[in-house]
Symmetry: C2
Subunit: 497 residues, 2 copies
């Protein structure tokens, strides 16, 4: 049976080659593609995606996996690979090609409608294409199957085992506590962080971003950074992981934390086992765990006082005029200013969860059918007022701000919050295990964090689910309390409560 496992490896690596080739074409599309190349690039990516999908869903693939699943000569890692591949295979076979094409057409229509709708600030353009897509997503949930709530089937695509029940429970604990904290902070004098909004030269920002990436152990021999409109991380194998950033010359924060955020994602990808290329154990655990890696670096470390005790002096050297008279504590407080706002991607670490929860609640209702896409603007605006106390002036700055729904990515948003909760819980364990961690980070040494992640997170690929990985690493399954405690301690201190 050894031979069959080798055949399995060869086949899945071939599929990976084609999928990652599509990823290279996508990366190029976001970074260097000349404008007129866009149309043909679209079809080239589709052809690769379909070729990989055809290979993966071929009956021969199924037969090979079925044979291997009965093999009792496999070691535990091989067995896990085969089991996960077989699960993936069976899941893919649940969606026939007619349905996949229908979905792809619907996504295409709704994406273009969203672009137009957003540009013209007119939700009505998006409403029907979105509703058509929602109906298909509901059908997808039925095909994929679920125990309790159809939305479970969709969330499962991004984080295996994630359910409405567990997510409701997390938000039910998180949101009230954060509301109380937010109210308390609101009573305090607001922080002035105007110094972040001056002119910061593009090239100098770029160089500083590269230094930050190097500092957190991003391996530039196995990756690179480029510029794109929206920052992202992509990988073509663990030895070629690419991040992008954007630079706003009037806002230092934009580049700085997008760099650290994407860097966190990238460290995870660079740390995945290279010898499992193309196989499940060479892939990331879940979107929630991926997000925990970006948030851990971006927030728990990258917005901490120790981190800036080390980096602020060099930043001040780079921008002496802009940061004149600003102390490291001023800087630390400035970058952690909490203020309810309209746009998710610009939200602070605390109000961010409200943005996510609102989207989650709306998606859940859309998929269960208790509301229709035409109800979105009203509910959106109601929730923003209720939870964040702000009036949404128009849909462009409201329910049209995110691309996700137009892509059919229902079930995705929750992983942003859950990732942050995981990050806080991991960070709690790291801090408990190493009482010197603050001092180390303040001295520019992040080695022990990196080593811990190299042991607890990176090498496992998809061997464990998010919950299992978390339990192995922290001794417990996910609890919102770690984030709540972290947030209370950090922000009360910052706001002098």
């Amino acid at each position: 049976m050894k031979d069959q496992y080798e055949n399995y490896e060869a086949l899945f690596q071939e599929i990976a080659d084609i999928k990652y080739a599509a990823a290279v074409l996508q990366w190029d599309q976001e970074t260097y593609l000349p404008p007129k190349g866009n149309d043909m690039r679209g079809r080239q990516i589709s052809t690769l995606t379909e070729t990989a999908h055809r290979l993966f869903t071929d009956e021969k693939t199924g037969a090979l996996l079925e044979e291997l699943i009965k093999d009792n000569q496999l070691n535990h890692r091989q067995r896990k690979n085969v089991e996960l591949s077989f699960q993936d295979y069976k899941k893919n076979k649940k969606l026939d090609s007619t349905f996949v094409r229908k979905m792809s057409d619907a996504v295409n229509k709704s994406f273009h409608a969203w672009i137009k709708s957003r540009k013209e600030n007119d939700f009505s353009i998006f409403q029907q294409p979105l509703q058509d897509l929602i109906i298909l997503k509901r059908q997808e949930a039925d095909y994929l199957g679920f125990d309790k709530h159809p939305y479970d089937a969709l969330m499962n695509e991004y984080d295996k085992g994630l359910t409405v029940e567990s997510t409701d429970r997390l938000f039910a604990e998180l949101i009230p506590s954060l509301s109380i904290l937010l109210d308390a902070l609101n009573q305090q004098p607001q922080i002035n962080n105007q110094f972040l909004h001056q002119h910061f030269d593009k090239n100098l920002q770029w160089k500083f971003g590269i230094e930050l990436l190097k500092h957190i152990h991003f391996d530039f021999e196995a990756g690179r950074q480029d510029i794109s409109e929206h920052p992202f991380t992509t990988n073509f194998n663990s030895q070629d992981v690419r991040v992008t950033t954007r630079i706003d010359e009037n806002n230092l924060a934009n580049m700085t934390w997008s760099c650290i955020h994407e860097g966190g994602h990238a460290l995870y990808e660079q740390g995945l086992p290279a010898n499992e290329y193309g196989l499940p154990l060479g892939e990331y655990c879940s979107l929630s765990i991926h997000e925990s890696q970006s948030r851990l670096w971006e927030n728990c470390i990258g917005r901490s006082l120790p981190f800036w005790k080390f980096h602020f002096p060099s930043l001040q050297q780079i921008f002496p005029k802009q940061l004149e008279g600003i102390s490291v504590v001023d800087f630390y407080r400035g970058i952690n200013k909490v203020i309810p706002s309209l746009i998710r991607t610009e939200a602070d670490e605390l109000t961010y969860h409200f943005h996510v929860m609102i989207r989650y609640e709306i998606e859940k209702k859309l998929i269960e059918g208790s509301i229709n896409s035409k109800d979105i603007p009203a509910i959106w605006n109601e929730y923003y007022e209720k939870f964040l106390g702000i009036k949404v002036p128009d849909d462009k700055n409201g329910c049209l701000q995110d691309v996700h729904w137009s892509h059919g990515s229902f079930g995705y948003f929750a992983t942003y919050s859950i990732g942050s909760l995981y990050a806080a819980q991991l960070w709690n364990t790291i801090s408990k295990t190493n009482h010197q961690i603050d001092a180390e980070i303040a001295s520019g040494n992040i080695h022990s964090v990196f080593q811990w992640l190299q042991k607890e997170i990176y090498p496992h690929g998809r061997y464990f689910t998010s919950e299992e990985l978390c339990k192995n690493a922290t001794g417990e399954t996910l609890h919102a309390k770690y984030f709540i405690e972290y947030a209370q301690q950090k922000f009360k201190n910052i706001y002098g409560i």
Copy 2:
């Protein structure tokens, strides 16, 4: 039968998508790939190449083409596409997969041997792997078939219809005339072009190169330029054509003419019919014609006095110190200095042909079996002394300088010379048709050249062979006399004869 033509288009466009995806991965490999990504990139490119090849050589492809070839409803362009595709198909089927794999292994071995051999300046390392490859190339020629000389079969791969007979005839006319001219120039005082070998800032050179590309009508909306070790042009469709250049801060010529040369290739690719994507009529005619496009721009235009009458003033503004006291005529003479040298890629427009002819002669003998790879260094050195009057100090600067043989690219070199001959013949027609051409170019207007190429060369794809295309465009098949006359006139004038 209409439907079958559409099926044919769809299939060949799918194959093109995969081939061009491989080209994107190759472009990335030469420009942006982080070093550790190299291994996996190699296998990803192989998978794509094999996938495209499998689709193309599938029996179903053959059956479809066979059916279409009998169809008399096709218009003349459709018919041509089908005929050329069927020829390609039958040619590909002549080489079975065992042979293709053998060849690919032999190339791999000889390429690595060449790298080592060159590094250690020791031809003996390369000798046996090269000989193994030559034996396979000879077998390939047998499989492909030929009338007179086995080398014809190999040249035919790069330029359909090119033969030893026709190439011998061209060189027999070209080389003696150029030898006489070279001797005459040698009697004259040599030109001093030291001013080209000063320090020229990288960023300023880059900007100047971009201006040159814009000037010759390279469409930056449908292409881009990047930096790579060896300049090249690649395309993923006619709306995405990419050139690369290299910049030597101690030699202005390197970047300048590589830019114009690759730009000439790129204009051709950008001008190919976009609506024939993936089909023969959307592809370039031959390597010879491709080279004619780069040489026309690089030499006939890019090393002409009118061209620099227009560009020299701005170049002088960019590098005022380096070009102080240099007149445009000094510059023109400097960039056209003729001097026999060791390295092909650094040769002037005139001695270049000797480098090519020597390689052609050696290849021909290797493939016919009248010499063996071990004889190469001696013949090489003998020919360099005989034709260029220079002693080759070592194989690194002699027969190990080019990558082509290690790649198995036998039959390729001649297209460099033939491309130059075509360029001169096209240029002759352009000049005869438009007596204002020099004045136009001197005033910065290259529109009429571009328009002529847009009519005579670009839109035809593979509709005509090189010879047919040349005859349609110039009224005659290829003659060496146009280059000879061009060279005599130009260089006698420059050297004051």
